[in-house]
């Protein structure tokens, strides 16, 4: 669990993470929906050969997802190293993951391979260059399914063209509080950008987190797509910042009260659900970002967000836990993370 290695990126208090993924398929193997188990095994073998032949690159370790316990699979998903689809699939699959846990290549996902890179803050260009680099290496060793007109051929037509999805996770509590988030959602849709809340069981966006990503991948090149997502995110961040300040000035006591109450709850709760945890984390993140709470770092909050999720929590405990046990364990974990952060 090397989340602490994740370096702080620019604007990382509001832009939690930037991710780029490339969908790729090989020309000589049918796509996922028509693949046999023989194909699945063959594809994993092919990728293992390609990756092992390449000595110059950052070390990529192969994770045999199929052989893993479901808790370990979901934990990889909670740490954003594999997709929910790959965590659940019944076919033979795996993922190559680097030591820093910011680059992974999923094998036998919806496409033959999905290369993805994840960085803290707003760093789409960096995430793309990491993906681009490993993609070029693979394309020297094998023939991708590619068409002059449609670009990289993908299992679903929505990914044609560059096969790229660039996304940034934004923390937008002030836009949510004021209701302005709705107009942002609508505005983005008009320019081919999708903004979606990270939804939980209770249908509202969890912890005021939103994912901004490109809707279109055909007809626009990688750089243009990244520049447009980047620009839109920066605009949203600016608006979020000025709204925060406005809300704060309007009623300093009310604002600080909300933040300190949530902080107090996280510090003192003995039983806490994921949903509740994310809600209070959102307030505390806002407080840290605005310099109201000074003794915790954004990294500590990111760690809590990842580690307190159900499967990862069970992995840390080394045994399966019931829901009640998880809620108790989660409260313990939050307290110890916050206290060790204060000590520093």
């Amino acid at each position: 669990m090397s989340r602490n290695k994740m370096e702080k990126g620019p604007e990382c208090d509001i832009a939690v993470s930037s991710r780029v993924r490339l969908a790729r398929n090989f020309a000589d193997i049918p796509f996922s929906i028509k693949m046999s188990s023989k194909h699945h095994t063959e594809l994993i073998k092919r990728m293992q050969e390609i990756i092992s032949e390449n000595k110059s690159q950052t070390k990529l370790m192969f994770a045999d997802i199929s052989a893993m316990h479901p808790i370990d699979r979901i934990s990889l998903m909670e740490r954003h190293l594999i997709s929910p689809d790959l965590a659940e699939t019944k076919v033979n699959c795996g993922a190559f993951i680097n030591e820093d846990e910011n680059l992974s290549i999923m094998v036998n996902e919806e496409d033959h391979i999905r290369i993805q890179a994840l960085f803290s803050g707003i760093q789409l260009e960096k995430a793309y260059s990491v993906c681009d680099n490993i993609d070029s290496i693979i394309s020297e060793k094998a023939d991708y399914a590619f068409d002059d007109k449609y670009g990289y051929l993908t299992s679903c037509p929505t990914n044609l063209g560059t096969g790229m999805r660039a996304s940034v996770m934004l923390h937008l509590p002030a836009l949510v509080m004021t209701g302005y988030i709705q107009s942002i959602l609508e505005g983005c849709n008009k320019v081919g950008v999708t903004v979606r809340g990270i939804y939980g069981e209770n249908s509202e966006a969890v912890g005021d987190m939103f994912q901004v990503s490109n809707q279109i991948s055909l007809g626009r090149n990688e750089e243009e797509t990244i520049a447009s997502i980047d620009g839109i995110c920066k605009q949203i961040i600016d608006r979020e910042k000025s709204l925060r300040l406005q809300l704060y000035k309007q009623n300093i006591y009310k604002f600080e009260d909300r933040i300190y109450r949530s902080y107090g709850l996280l510090l003192n709760a003995r039983i806490i659900s994921t949903q509740e945890c994310f809600k209070y984390l959102s307030d505390v993140r806002l407080g840290v970002s605005m310099g109201i709470i000074k003794d915790i770092s954004i990294n500590t909050l990111n760690d809590i967000q990842v580690l307190s999720q159900p499967a990862t929590l069970q992995k840390i405990s080394g045994k399966p836990l019931s829901q009640d046990e998880r809620d108790i364990k989660r409260a313990e974990l939050i307290r110890s993370q916050l206290q060790s952060s204060e000590d520093k």
Partner: protein
């Protein structure tokens, strides 16, 4: 957000409906979205990019088509159910049906961007020209006119299709 139809389950599908040239956004749960089959899906969202029925809707009125991909054996109607093609050849086999759908999805049907190394492609030519034009401007700004002339010649030869 609750589903706007049943008001019970969480909305995780967004449907954009066009009625008399008016655009209406609906936020529905998975079940309700499946039931409302006659709508045009434009922007799905949710954890796994829920895409069921993305292409099925507009075909219901049409007579069944018997397009089939010779390479992987997939039939066009099979594609409509899953929204996934069976192999790279499917795009050729279903081109006549798929092309307008792809155009609607992306607003464009011409790839701009990276080209894999082992593919000799026409796409790489415009890409190459674009890159050279940037280099040309840079060398002019640096007042390296000899270099600029070389780059200009290279662009010309690419443009006439050498």
């Amino acid at each position: 957000m609750l589903c706007q139809n049943c008001q019970k389950r969480a909305a995780n599908v967004q449907i954009t409906q066009i009625n008399n040239n008016k655009k209406i956004d609906l936020y529905l749960c998975e079940q309700c979205a499946k039931e409302i089959g006659h709508t045009e899906f434009v922007a799905p969202f949710g954890f796994n990019d829920l895409l069921f029925g993305l292409f099925g809707s507009q075909v219901k009125q049409e007579a069944p088509i018997s397009l089939k991909c010779k390479n992987c054996g997939m039939e066009y109607n099979e594609f409509l159910k899953s929204s996934r093609v069976g192999c790279s050849n499917c795009y050729k086999a279903f081109e006549q049906k798929l092309d307008p759908i792809i155009k609607r999805l992306h607003g464009n049907v011409e790839h701009h961007g990276k080209v894999p190394k082992r593919v000799s492609s026409n796409v790489s030519v415009p890409n190459e020209i674009e890159k050279l034009k940037i280099l040309l401007n840079e060398s002019i700004q640096r007042e390296e006119y000899e270099e600029a002339a070389k780059i200009r010649d290279r662009i010309r030869s690419l443009e006439v299709g050498e």
